[in-house]
Symmetry: C2
Subunit: 575 residues, 2 copies
């Protein structure tokens, strides 16, 4: 079965199945979403208007048995940042979508009538049907109803009320193997799907399979690749404690943004740490280890339960816990878990929304530390789209503008995540220069600045940070094209057998012969393609800067500011 | 008495009186505010942070008896647009400030403590005193209390609750001769004053006078100048009907933006027209003719009363009446007048806020045509800074983002005023290219497109529009430097004696010998200085565009779109 482009036009409510243009053939995941958006979307268009397109693409290895290859890339012009955007998530959709023969699903246009739709994807293409029952429903209700309506291993990609209300913090959620959700969180892609009035996308591959050109070679490469992953100590720590292992580590580094980025350490860090979380889950007979997509060998996810053993949330990530915890000064893990569940149900990015809550706390909307207040606002205001809910649901920048706050941690209007760029300078370069707004996953210098993976670069000095961020951003863009989880990067940075094995996987899948240089060039091509889109959309070097307060307010305990000049930051693009 | 720069530092709560730097000596009004901001304000700074500066400057002729010379320019980096900003208004402050010997008042820094202040300006400089009594009060209460506290002809520049709450639509109001207010409306300058925690500025010139280098020549020039003004038919129409004479004229042209810019004609236009307003005022024994500053010979202002003869509002302008009227489909002039009064009292721009209300109507927040609903929202929500009030108080772009609306008539995030750029194409060029965001006063092509002043350029074709807008924007920048009301432009365009008389006035005031070329070069210098600031702040040609819907949605009755290409628009800057 040859891969095709599935194109859905919501203006005409029609779908075509198209051959893959030659220029797109070598691409998958982020490389493909960004290539398609750069080719077909007017950079200056309104993100919620008819000219924007939502593009969903499995990675180059999605649908195969390659370890940890289940990420789905979703891209569009972002309503939050105004830049090009790719956000990827786990769940089962990437693998199922690849098995339908869909290389990329492009959703374009806007319906003329005030109705909602569902998209049913199969090997035959996409059926567009009117949907009414699930409109207005939260993600968990959608997952449940969808499971009843379409029994079996059927993929689901959906938006919650936030996406329907076109909030700039709205995410797109993907059903995971246990009927929970994983989300393409950043950049408000849920609002683009909501603007197109697609409530959910259902994926039934039937007997579809992904062809492997050289099966033996593939199997062998996968064995070496999996071994490299499971052997790495960071993979192992992630498997035991989840990403939340980082709370104590980052707190110790003095780079844990606390109380809306006014300190680098949080007094309550022990209460919300990965270790505490692990003990709590074990004590409550929850699930400390869990995978977000079939075939993941790292298994950083977990199921967090209440004292009665009932699930509160799963995929309880460090960034979410930091944001609602340290940044909002909430030191009660149950409150944070409840907030996480609410945000997953409403379908809104936990980082953006929690950082927005921190800015709202600074504005006096609610007190710092008020975990129950946070849950009330999420449920009653954000979930119902009240004016306050919309201010918060539109992100941290929105809250700052609404209330006239100047300490607003955003780059290109996207909230800065869980690592303060004053105390961990490499990540500041990533925030500033990323084509996507502030995003730690775009060039995770924490690996080398803090975890000492791939060498060591002192987080407190400027030396080596631009080069570190550049190398990681290039590598990340390439990894994001494979469908691989970014967490393969730890092994790839330290184990010399990992990256060649990954390249062998791609080569065996397609019967080609990529080299390491090809992969680096792919990463560079993606970054430059994305940047060219942003430049045409009106972005300049001035947008590659951190907010003023990072340069003027020293961060305790190191009492450091972010001290890169604009010229120094701009050398990032010298490649 | 030599003119000086009065500099107030709110961080240190101190004031200095400084000599005028040579580079600033020839400037006044907008030329001076923009020169100072370009020299002293970091273009990328946060508009509400300590690095922004608020600059107030009388015009070159302010404080003299020259006709219609009482405009005060206020500038800063705008919290609404992020661009450089100058907004000027009438009232008595410009003349009184000039008489203290203050060439420009610069307010910089931010107070460290959570207190409010008043500034008392005299010939000796500025005293900074703590203010508590009037904090939270509306503009009319401030005017009244200020008059009791400082009796006599004392100037007053104040912000209302909107400025205190740092809303991006907040204006700065200036007391007029009758104890009402005139406002520097556009661009949210009130939020900058609020961020600096200055509630009001009081101006007592004592026996201060403005020196005239050549008094006889000045008197003679003023006679010719005044005559040119009063002789022009547009001046006369403005004197009788006010600016609202335009409702029927623009409706007839098909360029009266109606129902959030979905039509070019308003069925209720007769009910809100200048003619109806004049008849109503006369019938209710209000004041159809009134001047906003001493010495104005045009007198376009008026006092609009209720049926009992009690004043509702004054300075009841076309743009305000259009915005709350046609754009929101409110056809009850009393409701519009009440809304106007509320906005004047809250201290918020009538254009920005009313256009924001139109977008809110499109979002379903309240129905189109609901004049009482508008008044309720202004009073209870905007005036009290509720979440909905802040969404609206932050302008049309804010409402669009909050509710995910795509038909949002803004350029550089500032609301497009009362002339649809599809049916009156010249003004579209002004909206797109103005250094200040969408602003009709920056290059009022309506004069030539519709009123046939200064020639005639067909509003419906592209020919000649860029050149028309360019010439008018250059001339306007120069006029805005003199302290003259922009309405002198009608006479200046048609009467060959007007502009030379104005230049003679300046020459006689300072004992210099400017030529017409000097004035044109001044205008060009101002535009280029402002544009350089914006470029350094991150603006590009992409920002010099109208919103997407103007290109794709034909406007009735002419069924026209805005059809200038980006390249055509960009030729504006070829000078």
């Amino acid at each position: 079965m040859a891969d095709s482009i599935f194109r859905v036009n919501m203006s005409t409510l029609s779908c075509t199945v198209e051959d893959v243009p030659a220029a797109w053939a070598g691409h998958g995941g982020r490389g493909l979403t960004s290539t398609i958006i750069a080719a077909e979307v007017e950079p200056t268009c309104h993100p919620l208007g008819e000219k924007n397109k939502l593009v969903l693409a499995p990675g180059l290895l999605s649908g195969t048995v390659a370890a940890s290859s289940g990420r789905l890339s979703i891209g569009a012009k972002s309503p939050l940042t105004g830049t090009i955007k790719e956000s990827n998530a786990g769940g089962t959709a990437a693998q199922l979508l690849a098995r339908t023969g869909c290389k990329a699903l492009i959703i374009e246009g806007l319906p003329k009538e005030d109705r909602w739709y569902r998209l049913l994807v199969s090997q035959q293409g996409v059926k567009i049907e009117e949907e009414s029952e699930l409109v207005g429903k939260g993600n968990f209700a959608v997952v449940e109803a969808h499971g009843q309506r379409y029994p079996g291993k059927i993929g689901l990609i959906t938006i919650g009320p936030a996406g329907e209300m076109k909030m700039a913090g709205a995410n797109i959620s993907v059903k995971d193997p246990d009927g929970s959700v994983r989300s393409s969180g950043r950049g408000g892609l849920g609002a683009v799907m909501g603007a197109k009035r697609v409530k959910f996308i259902s994926i039934d591959p039937g007997d579809g399979k992904v062809a492997i050109a050289e099966p033996e070679k593939f199997k062998e490469a996968n064995r070496a690749f999996s071994k490299a992953l499971v052997d790495h100590p960071v993979s192992q720590a992630l498997g035991q404690y989840g990403t939340n292992i980082l709370i104590n580590i980052i707190n110790e580094s003095g780079g844990l943004p606390t109380k809306n980025f006014t300190s680098g350490q949080f007094a309550g860090h022990e209460k919300i740490s990965g270790e505490t979380m692990y003990d709590t889950i074990v004590q409550r007979q929850g699930k400390p280890k869990h995978n977000c997509h079939p075939g993941c060998v790292i298994q950083c996810s977990q199921v967090y339960t209440d004292t009665a053993g009932k699930k509160i949330t799963s995929g309880f990530e460090y960034e979410s816990i930091w944001a609602m915890g340290a940044d909002c000064c909430v030191d009660n893990l149950d409150h944070i878990a409840e907030a996480d569940r609410l945000m997953d149900d409403i379908g809104i990015d936990t980082i953006e929304t929690s950082v927005a809550m921190g800015v709202a706390m600074e504005a006096g909307v609610l007190p710092f530390g008020d975990g129950t207040g946070v849950c009330r606002i999420l449920k009653e205001e954000v979930g119902n789209g009240t004016p306050l809910g919309r201010i918060i649901g539109n992100g941290a920048g929105s809250v700052g503008r609404a209330f006239g706050v100047t300490r607003v941690p955003v780059v290109k209007n996207q909230a800065i995540p869980a690592y303060d760029p004053r105390a961990i300078k490499g990540i500041g370069i990533t925030y500033a220069t990323s084509t996507q707004g502030a995003d730690h996953t775009m060039g995770y210098t924490i690996a080398t600045n803090i975890l000492k993976v791939g060498g060591s670069v002192d987080p407190l000095t400027k030396e080596g940070q631009v080069e570190l961020s550049r190398n990681l951003q290039i590598a990340t863009a390439a990894i994001d094209s494979t469908g691989m989880c970014l967490f393969i990067a730890f092994a790839a940075l330290d184990n010399q057998e990992c990256l060649p094995a990954l390249i062998d996987l791609i080569n065996a899948r397609y019967g080609i012969s990529l080299t390491g240089d090809d992969v680096v060039n792919l990463g560079k091509y993606i970054l430059k393609t994305e940047r060219a889109f942003n430049t045409a959309a009106g972005f300049t070097a001035v947008d590659d800067r951190l907010p003023e307060f990072f340069y003027s307010e020293p961060l305790a305990p190191h009492n450091v500011v972010f001290d890169f000049t604009g010229e120094e930051i701009d050398t990032f693009w010298n490649f």
